[in-house]
Symmetry: C2
Subunit: 369 residues, 2 copies
């Protein structure tokens, strides 16, 4: 496998920030929700160290929104997730994995409640809009479901609060995690949330007019100069250390929601109707057969992972690793892997097979201990 | 905009043929249905000339299938398209654009009827599976909807018949357009259809076991040697000349199905229930306001198109071009563009704006005349 270019055509949608991404010397992209998502400006390692120390500006417009609005909006959003949505207040975000009638994962979005009857579902990489539209049509719900012109820009890292305080005022420091306000930046209305796909703290700025992307980028960039701001992106090392799973890699529509470590967010007995109830209650009674786990491999950094790597126990395949990064903090390779339940206990020793070679691996807990 | 690499992770699924694609020196990829789709091995021009003269092997595994099977399968498939499906015989393929309850395009697949109650919907780049699953759930239909382990490999070009005749026997030459048979190649069962995303003729081989991709590729490759077979891909020049539109570029979920030039395939009065009926009959009565058109620009080759280009008439914006290629055959740039109906008549002169410069453009008919 050698490096290959990506051909950017209108089908792979551009973002409102893309000109700045190129000006900052982007080297690699991925595609996410039919849109470009920047990956590397320098190197994953360099960007990791900078992210953990300073502040970065991320073009995460590819985190698209599905807006659900109307008299049946709450009923519809409750229907698609085993998480309790009614308790989510206006101005609040919740992490709410979506599950179909078989309990299989459709996506793991953040849901923002903008009004009693209006939600943004901020999605990972699958066309959730079409699924919800199909359900709303089939059930005859009175709700509009569409993709609004909304493109998040993330400000992540320990100095994110300093940057945002200069930009919108000191009060922003008091904004709680997973809460948002509506304000103006660079003359354009934005939803500003304390959230983002890293464990380093920060904000997501939901731009609502794609023609204003560059002024918004430039406003944050100008204030960020004295904090050593750089263009960045969700970082593979940092997300492994923090334990952030990626839909499409670590869990897919082949996995049921109880296998993915989401239990703490769910309420299988919630009072509202949800389509996965019967399937999940059955799985819950029977017990899950697989578990999404943290696995560590000591020694030198492993190569880039293109396809899943097998994990074995006594020569028998017991799972697959789906993400990997070498962590400077842990001085080890960190992996996410879907494992048979009987080998999912922290401390269990396994064998990881990479290009025909076996490496000693050990199951860890969620804090990599 | 400078060339950028793509980062291949498990989220961007590999295909059963990918090892051969790399061995043949792939230079550029696109991403399609969360999967790699090869673009350039040499250059678009070189591959165009070879495709029109010889035969090529295309890894089009990214054309994923949505299988719909069960007692309500036909009812469900009828529901999602304004094309008549009941008339499609077992062993036949039909081009059947999908439309939602507002008449907007969800995808423009080929549908293969494998049995009276079993269909493969061979999709362009959107998660049709989730949409159909949502509808089936919402309506309580008795049908299973899933993505089977099916990965098409296309054999395209004027010598495709010679290659396939050597591989599966002379009878294959008599297979009609958009008909398929079930047979074995390289010891694995395949669905073999006369179809493919070019106007040069050829076949699509639907592999049904992804572990058999390389033997299948190698079997076609071996027979193809004396016909000058090469690794190739859907070709931008050829598809413009042939008039093949691409979902996500040329038409999207923002466009209604009657604006896209699909009329010849549709029957708005079909007897079966379909969800777009009311919307499309209304649009049909009112007349469409826009039309997906063929537009020609004389002169030197235009640059690569990243985002849509505006088309103007008397200084007023009247549309957008979404695809472009310089055609050696027509000695001109060929473009697809969504235009206001009043400027959609062949022969209409317009102005195309590329990077601030205006170019004279002319609307053509579907044969570029």
């Amino acid at each position: 496998m050698h490096p290959t270019e990506i051909v950017l055509s209108p089908r792979l949608r551009s973002t409102p920030y893309e000109a700045r991404v190129f000006e900052n010397g982007i080297k690699t992209f991925t595609i996410y929700n039919h849109m470009t998502l920047p990956v590397n400006f320098t190197s994953v390692e360099d960007q990791y160290h900078h992210l953990c120390e300073h502040v970065q500006l991320w073009d995460v417009a590819a985190e698209r929104q599905v807006e659900v609005v109307g008299p049946d909006a709450l009923r519809l959003v409750e229907l698609i997730t085993p998480r309790e949505v009614a308790h989510c207040k206006v101005g609040q975000c919740i992490y709410a994995p979506l599950a179909d009638e078989d309990g299989l994962v459709i996506n793991d979005p953040i849901i923002l409640r903008l009004a009693e009857d209006r939600f943004w579902i901020s999605i990972a990489d699958s066309d959730v809009k079409f699924w919800i539209k199909g359900i709303a049509y089939g059930r005859g719900f009175d709700a509009k479901v569409f993709e609004p012109d909304v493109s998040p820009l993330a400000v992540q890292g320990p100095k994110a609060d300093d940057v945002m305080a200069e930009l919108v005022g000191e009060d922003i420091r008091a904004l709680k995690f997973f809460r948002f306000i509506e304000t103006d930046i660079a003359g354009t209305p934005v939803v500003l949330a304390r959230s983002g796909w890293s464990g380093q703290g920060g904000f997501e700025i939901y731009l609502q007019d794609s023609s204003k992307g560059l002024p918004l980028w430039d406003a944050v960039w100008a204030v960020g100069q004295k904090y050593n701001i750089r263009a960045g992106s969700p970082n593979q090392i940092e997300r492994l250390e923090t334990g952030l799973k990626s839909y499409g890699s670590d869990m897919t529509h082949d996995d049921n929601i109880l296998e993915c470590g989401f239990e703490r967010y769910l309420n299988l007995d919630k009072s509202a109707e949800y389509m996965a109830r019967e399937a999940l209650q059955q799985i819950s009674r029977d017990g899950v057969r697989r578990k999404l786990c943290h696995v560590e491999v000591q020694g030198a950094a492993l190569p880039a992972l293109r396809e899943r790597w097998a994990l074995q126990s006594d020569g028998r395949k017991v799972g697959d690793a789906s993400s990997c990064a070498y962590s400077p903090k842990h001085q080890a390779n960190l992996l996410f892997a879907m494992l048979s339940s009987e080998v999912s206990t922290p401390g269990t020793e396994l064998s990881l097979v990479v290009d025909g070679s076996a490496h000693q691996a050990i199951v860890r807990d969620e804090r990599w201990k």
